[in-house]
Symmetry: C2
Subunit: 338 residues, 2 copies
């Protein structure tokens, strides 16, 4: 937490590609678009008082999922929840989704199962599936686009955090990563935590109500969802807000602790690098944190978990571990890591 | 054109799958959504006076395109034009696009070329590329979602056509299909029409201005874009409007005629089954057709091409050929044809 700590790690390769894409598309612009590439969702202005938010997520067989580890129904749920989570991260209320589906042959059972999962999640988050495209493809892929709406004063971005802000997450992390371990290793399924971990992996929850609640507070400076692992996503929020961060504690889900202990692996690594927990990460004005956390607990029956504070960018991103402050490297998912 | 003509062919397998999907997702609904699965684009109501339209299109290597036949820059243009064409078909003005891109490795050159093409088309049609997703995938795929806006009184659907309406298209057909032949056969490239056909295949034009003009007319009863071939798309408009149709003439692009003649193939088949011409197909109130066609010519410098009339559903879909009326089978693209 001092100058002895290293600066934050360089951008991920994937982030570098996204930055190149942002440059290539900068020439495209529309007066109604108020936020483009680089946040959880983009924002535009369909009329004076409204903002709409849009986000697209892709899921590819063999990359994001394997048929051996989850059913097509789970895949459908998970894909929808992941897409909706990007709206939650802006404080937007979901309205609709479109689905582009590639599939090797017209496997009616697979298509039906997939859509059952997609429709169940859509119903849970209150959005309509309104269209899409259906095509042959050598492997199954799914591209989910979601649209939501948010009051212009509430839309909350990754940028906006200031040094000193309290960093917090809406729930403990690592359970989805633990569930992936359970899904791939039958010997772990007898553990009492196995079901909770599997559920977190196969049926993750997008924090829509929490996102709208937090976005409506003027004391929330910045927000995003934790989809690629806390270490990776925190670095993104810090870059967008031009800040560093000092993480004091990482809230690890009980099921992640139990599965990691049974495997002899590091539960903190599940929480820092695992991703797909879809909890929200917020930067909150320090004086308002206790008040906001109290209201959050009253509303949702769960604590808003303090994990650290934003710092000046020059201080980098650090993690307090065993009483020592270490630089925190991004250990989350990178599609184009060397 | 009489009872001697057969009824229209059964729905495509792809259409049957889409119908099953519509049933599975019927439980998802949102009060703001005014048109869901089954048209060129879906419509929702972000505020009282506005309608927004959304459509998603997927493109898969080896299914929709081959690297040998077009550059990645052409692919980007074509994918964006195809997606925008669905907005044009509703009479909507494009606002933004998101891109989900799957690619085997971080092929920077390919990604850059693709985005150059996407950005060029986005600039041509006045929409912004605002986000998306980037993932590894075993083959290149691209899912483009586009959002546009339209006055609620102007949004024009596939449904709404009545028997007696004049059917017309915004331009001659078959050039894109001829261009595919030229791209795959070097011996055709010396023909004078080769460049025009290749351009239609690699850089198709979405008829945005034409779509807005036609949708603003109360005399246009129904509209869609011709993306899968006139025979296939006409059957869709007829099903949505609960009509049959009698096609009297098929306007074939000069380049399609020339390439077909050089190959000894049937130019009409290019126009009826080729697809990807992205002209608009409209059903116009019969008394207003001449007036509308005159205004169309004055505005765009090209004729609105009359191809036939809508009929009662029981009369099926027929084509007048060599003075004889034949049933017209859907010969266009079906992803899941047996």
């Amino acid at each position: 937490m001092t100058a002895a700590c290293l600066p934050s790690p360089p951008a991920l390769r994937e982030d570098a590609v996204v930055a190149a894409i942002a440059a290539l598309t900068a020439s495209t612009a529309h007066p109604r678009v108020v936020l483009g590439i680089g946040d959880d969702a983009a924002l535009w202005q369909p009329s004076r008082s409204h903002r709409s938010a849009i986000s697209s997520d892709a899921f590819v067989e063999g990359v994001h999922f394997a048929r051996a580890l989850m059913t097509f129904e789970d895949l459908g749920w998970r894909a929808m929840a992941a897409a909706v989570s990007d709206l939650a991260a802006m404080g937007a209320r979901p309205v609709l989704a479109t689905i582009a589906l590639g599939i090797p042959t017209a496997e009616h059972v697979a298509i039906e199962q997939l859509y059952r999962g997609l429709a169940a999640a859509a119903a849970a988050y209150g959005l309509a599936i309104v269209g899409g495209d259906l095509t042959r493809a050598p492997v199954v892929f799914l591209a989910v686009s979601v649209v939501g709406e948010v009051r212009s004063s509430n839309a909350t971005r990754r940028a906006g955090g200031h040094p000193g802000a309290v960093l917090a997450v809406t729930g403990p992390l690592g359970a989805a990563r633990a569930g992936l371990e359970v899904a791939g290793n039958a010997s772990l399924r007898e553990l009492p935590s196995a079901d909770a971990a599997l559920a977190a992996f196969r049926r993750p929850q997008a924090r829509c109500a929490e996102g709208r609640f937090l976005a409506a507070s003027r004391n929330v400076e910045a927000m995003m969802d934790v989809s690629d692992g806390l270490s990776t996503d925190l670095a993104r929020l810090c870059r967008a807000s031009d800040c560093g961060a000092a993480i004091e504690q990482v809230p690890v889900a009980p099921s992640a602790r139990a599965i990691a202990a049974a495997q002899g692996s590091d539960a903190d690594a599940f929480a820092l690098g695992g991703g797909e927990d879809f909890e929200l990460l917020v930067a909150v004005r320090p004086r308002a944190f206790d008040y906001l956390a109290g209201r959050f607990r009253a509303r949702f029956g769960r604590p808003l978990l303090r994990i650290g504070t934003l710092r000046a960018a020059a201080e980098g991103i650090t993690l307090l571990r065993d009483g020592r402050c270490e630089p925190l490297a991004a250990s989350g998912w990178d599609h184009f890591a060397p």
